[in-house]
């Protein structure tokens, strides 16, 4: 059949390709349909509904919850970045906190007040500029780190990236001109868009409503970008390297280039997330980029679902909303204290929970929250049979 096609007259090739009869989701007439972003009707509908709900939320929820959700959106951007390098490309990175810090400080410097004599500042408060600057500088750091990854793998890579966090913490602590130093800190980047400072309330919206909308829009953009990276040739080369780098190389994938790309892209995402994260609180302290942050991101990826963009988002929101839940605990468990000075307190429970959740998910559902969803989906998909 194919041979006939190939040798047939080119004019006899059908002019319209990829026409697909209505209502037949499994009938593929072009590979693009299989790889499409929203390849089923159910996905189209549910994503549409989700977007509408997301846009309606600021008018329904309290401001403090909106702020939490905005933070969740930013964390999700960071988690997508980590999932691209760790989940898709299989390069374990514990240094995510460092990239986050690089992005945050770059953005703070770009947007900072030039009049301030304590710390550096360029005074460019326009959001896209400092956001891109933060992302690009972190991506540059990723490019520098990448050669390490092409020489090391697995546990060794994890240890080396862990080292980055300690190096970073040291630099951030000591470089007063940029970070303000320990215990002092500096103002973070101002989210100013076309002259409007979104972190201050305006006539129509509260600050949290504006930030929530901003972060939601950015998350959609970054998620879309991530999903497109994942389903394109780049994403497939990531997966090839993850599954077996030697086999990938044999099939013509340039392993070094792929690993470099993974770190650069991941760095960019982390840098952007770092820049945005502290523009919500407006202030950043050099001690905020420790190992715990890296572990939190790893938790997001593992709990959400390795190698899935939607899983990263789920995981990020889960981790972002977890403190809110643990803060409620003392009401039900009187022996827990909500003060950090007493033991046992909710903060310890929180830290404990991160660890426990990672262990539990790895043991019980290695594909994370997304895997749970897949199980539910497959259960109904197979209805009324079991397979």
């Amino acid at each position: 059949m194919t041979a006939v096609r190939e040798s047939a007259d080119p004019s006899s090739v059908p002019e319209a390709k990829g026409r697909r009869p209505w209502g037949r989701p499994q009938l593929y007439t072009a590979y693009g349909q299989d790889m499409a972003l929203l390849n089923t009707g159910a996905k189209k509908v549910s994503v549409g509904v989700l977007l509408v709900v997301a846009l309606l939320l600021p008018f329904l929820l309290e401001d403090d919850l909106l702020r939490l959700l905005a933070t969740g959106s930013v964390l999700a951007i960071g988690a997508i970045g980590l999932n691209l390098v760790t989940g898709y490309a299989g390069q374990v990175s514990l240094g995510h906190a460092f990239f986050l810090g690089v992005g945050a400080y770059t953005a703070a410097v770009v947007s900072g007040d030039p009049e301030d004599d304590q710390v550096w500042g360029l005074g460019i408060t326009f959001l896209p500029v400092w956001l891109l600057a933060g992302g690009l500088v972190a991506a540059l750091v990723g490019l520098v780190i990448a050669p390490l990854a092409s020489r090391l793998r697995g546990l060794y890579l994890a240890i080396v990236t862990l080292g980055l966090v300690f190096l970073g913490t040291h630099v951030f602590n000591e470089w007063d001109a940029v970070t303000g130093g320990i215990g002092v800190g500096r103002p973070a980047a101002d989210p100013v868009l076309f002259g409007v400072d979104l972190s201050r309330r305006t006539e129509a919206f509260s600050a949290d409503q504006q930030l929530y909308l901003l972060m939601t829009v950015l998350l959609v953009a970054f998620a879309l970008l991530g999903r497109n990276i994942a389903r394109s040739a780049i994403g497939r080369s990531f997966a090839a390297v993850r599954d077996r780098d030697i086999a990938a190389e044999v099939t013509g994938v340039d392993v070094r280039k792929v690993k470099r790309r993974a770190f650069v892209i991941s760095g960019f995402y982390a840098g952007c997330a770092g820049a945005l994260l502290y523009s919500i609180t407006g202030y950043l302290d050099p001690s905020s980029f420790g190992l715990l942050v890296s572990v939190q991101f790893v938790a997001m990826v593992l709990i959400g679902g390795v190698s899935t963009i939607s899983g990263s988002i789920l995981g990020a929101f889960f981790i972002a909303l977890l403190p809110r839940l643990t803060r409620e605990l003392p009401e039900y468990l009187p022996f827990l204290s909500s003060s950090a000075t007493q033991t046992p307190n909710v903060f310890q429970v929180e830290t404990l929970l991160y660890g426990l959740l990672i262990v539990a998910f790895l043991l019980l559902e290695p594909r994370g929250l997304f895997g749970l969803w897949v199980r539910i989906r497959n259960y109904w998909k197979a209805w009324p049979f079991s397979y």
Binding site: M1, A8, D9, S12, P14, A16, R19, G23, T29, S386
Partner: protein
């Protein structure tokens, strides 16, 4: 492509399937004519391309020296080249002869020699080898065209071979040198011209080639796709069908080639007979014809998978199917139409199980479903009716171009094959009970067999179908094949197929052959279905190795005994199966036990399993228990 002017200069103006395709290509050149799955994608062929290929191949046939009346044989699975070669042959006035891809060399040589085919289009090396093996006995066979070059090109040096693409190139060269030659040949076609030989599967004797003329085919097309045809509104370019039964059989030729040309329905070729369930799910046809075997298999699959489902799913599924049973009963009483009450029940069952079940079966969008070519049990049809898929049983045979009777939408009566088509006269011979038909679709006779033709068609033009039946207010109920009717030693007339079908309703049974002609009582040879029985044995923790081993297990014998007892309970004592034996192997076409259409050859079976049959009558006790050997 033909322009309007060219079309107007056509000679006799006889409508054939070829002119129908030409006109479609003119009217909707970019419309989808067919789809075939290649490399995971359903790649479509437009009407313009279809017609273009037909013209190329027709020109190539002219170049090869094929003239009016010459036979061109095709041995291939269903694919677009089958249709193209078929239509190209008809275009130049040739006669298409189809061979089953499963035909062994012995049958290939018979058909090719009997028809005197000049050209053979063979699908691949497997089919080509069969013809080459016997080509010394076939002086008429001058050209062998192969479609799949794998294993052939560069290895076979036979001068008569030609690759399909080279054939197309030959056609294009001829087309450039002699433009309009094919159109000229088409213009000379008369309604009485034979356009195809269809070799009847022949449960007895060697296959005979039934000659079908252009007028026969047009008569059938008018009967099936016309205003009083199979479905209302008639099939059209927006409908989809799946092509998977052998195209050399008259039924699939109607539902694929002729229906496609006449109504513009989109034909989708299944990858193979084994992938039919998956392909059905992908295509979700709106128009689906199947043989009883397929309907039984679909039902058996559901039962097996349901038995293995988790308790919740099983219980909800059973609840939905119980509702569906009620829907089926209500619809059956109403001629296959919904009543108000059945609609409500159907809606509930739809939510519970029917929607997903139909989606998985590939019957979600079916507008017309049909069964034919062999008797089917009422229970199976009733089950599908419960899903809201009324299956219309149709009746016909090669000799009347498969148009005799059909159940019409909304006037279905299960167990009958429906009402005669408007263009068909039908009566029952008062003395023998044989069904006789007459009409434009009655064939022109057997190829080179005037003796057999005289036997089949009498002087008044009545075709003797060989089937025994009765008319029930205009609807035909078929009792059995005339020669299969058995007279037991007690002098009772028994129609075995009804009993056999009742046994075959069980998903555990694949074949059942009732024996009892001139015997004291009825006995049966039963072949079990390896998939379902194997699955059952696994769940029951019965160890087995091979098919034969499985048939020898006492538990399996007991299982089949239970099925037989269940069937016996609904039968007169004379019709009850007193004893049975399980066939030690799956029946096979290659071994001569089945015809190419998977019908059992009773004579071959009686011969091969003679001792097994005798053992059922010689054993001391003829009660049910005696069956366990």
């Amino acid at each position: 492509m033909t322009t309007v002017q060219e079309r107007e200069t056509q000679g006799t103006g006889t409508t054939t399937v070829v002119t129908r395709v030409r006109d479609r290509a003119g009217d909707t050149p970019s419309g989808v004519a067919m789809r075939a799955k290649t490399k995971g994608l359903w790649q479509e062929t437009s009407w313009a391309q279809y017609w273009d290929d037909v013209l190329d191949v027709a020109h190539a046939l002219l170049d090869l020296g094929v003239v009016r009346g010459d036979r061109v044989a095709i041995q291939s699975e269903n694919r677009r080249e089958w249709l193209v070669a078929d239509l190209a042959t008809v275009a130049v006035g040739g006669v298409t002869v189809g061979l089953y891809p499963t035909n062994p060399p012995a049958e290939v040589v018979h058909v090719l020699r009997d028809s005197g085919a000049r050209v053979l289009v063979a699908e691949d090396q497997e089919q080509l080898d069969k013809a080459l093996e016997v080509s010394a006995e076939l002086p008429d066979l001058q050209h062998l065209v192969y479609v799949e070059p794998r294993g052939i090109r560069g290895r076979y040096t036979d001068q008569r071979l030609e690759f399909w693409a080279d054939l197309l190139a030959r056609g294009r060269a001829h087309r450039a040198a002699h433009p309009g030659a094919v159109e000229q040949a088409m213009a000379q076609t008369q309604p009485g011209d034979v356009m195809t030989l269809i070799y009847t599967s022949g449960t007895t004797g060697a296959p005979k080639g039934a000659m079908l003329t252009v007028a026969n085919v047009e008569s059938t097309i008018a009967a099936l796709t016309g205003p009083a045809g199979l479905l209302d509104p008639p099939a059209g370019p927006g409908d989809l069908t799946l092509s998977y039964l052998p195209l050399c059989h008259v039924a699939e030729r109607i539902f694929t080639t002729w229906n496609n040309a006449a109504t513009g329905i989109q034909v989708n070729f299944a990858e193979s007979i084994d992938t039919v369930p998956e392909n059905l799910r992908e295509i979700q046809p709106t128009f689906f014809f199947a043989v009883p075997r397929i309907w039984e298999k679909l039902l058996a699959n559901v039962q097996v998978k349901q038995a293995a489902a988790s308790p919740l799913k099983r219980n909800v599924g059973n609840l939905g199917l119980r509702l569906a049973t009620k829907v089926g009963a209500a619809m059956e009483a109403n001629g296959g139409k919904h009543t108000a009450g059945s609609r409500v029940l159907h809606a509930i069952a739809w939510v519970l199980v029917v929607r997903s079940l139909r989606e998985r079966l590939g019957l979600r969008r079916v507008r017309w479903a049909g069964s034919g070519a062999a008797p089917v049990s009422v229970e199976v049809l009733r089950w599908f009716m419960g899903l809201g898929v009324p299956v219309h049983e149709v009746y016909g045979m090669t000799e009347n171009t498969a148009s005799a009777t059909a159940n019409r939408p909304g006037r279905i009566r299960l167990g009958t094959v429906g009402e005669a088509h408007d263009s068909v006269e039908l009566r029952i011979d008062p003395t023998t009970g044989e069904i006789l038909t007459r009409g434009g679709a009655t064939f022109a006779g057997y190829w080179n067999r005037p003796d057999a033709t005289a036997e089949a068609v009498d002087a008044e033009g009545w075709l003797h179908t060989g089937d025994v039946g009765v008319l029930e207010d205009g609807r035909l109920r078929i009792t059995d094949r005339m020669k299969d009717i058995m007279i037991t030693a007690g002098g009772k007339n028994v129609a075995p197929s009804e009993i056999e079908n009742a046994v075959k309703v069980s998903p555990m049974v694949k074949e059942c052959v009732v024996i009892g002609d001139r015997r004291p009582y009825l006995a049966a040879l039963i072949g079990i279905e390896p998939d379902t029985v194997g699955d059952w044995a696994q769940r029951e923790r019965i160890a087995f190795t091979t098919y034969r081993d499985l048939t020898e297990r006492a538990e399996v014998q007991a299982l089949v005994q239970e099925i037989v007892d269940g069937v016996n309970a609904g039968l007169n004592p004379v019709e009850q199966i007193k004893t049975f034996r399980l066939l030690p192997k799956l029946l096979d076409h290659e071994d001569g036990e089945l015809t190419a259409t998977q019908k059992v050859r009773r004579s071959a079976l009686a011969e091969r399993y003679g001792p097994l049959v005798e053992s059922m009558y010689s054993s001391a006790s003829a009660t049910g228990k005696g069956a366990r050997s």
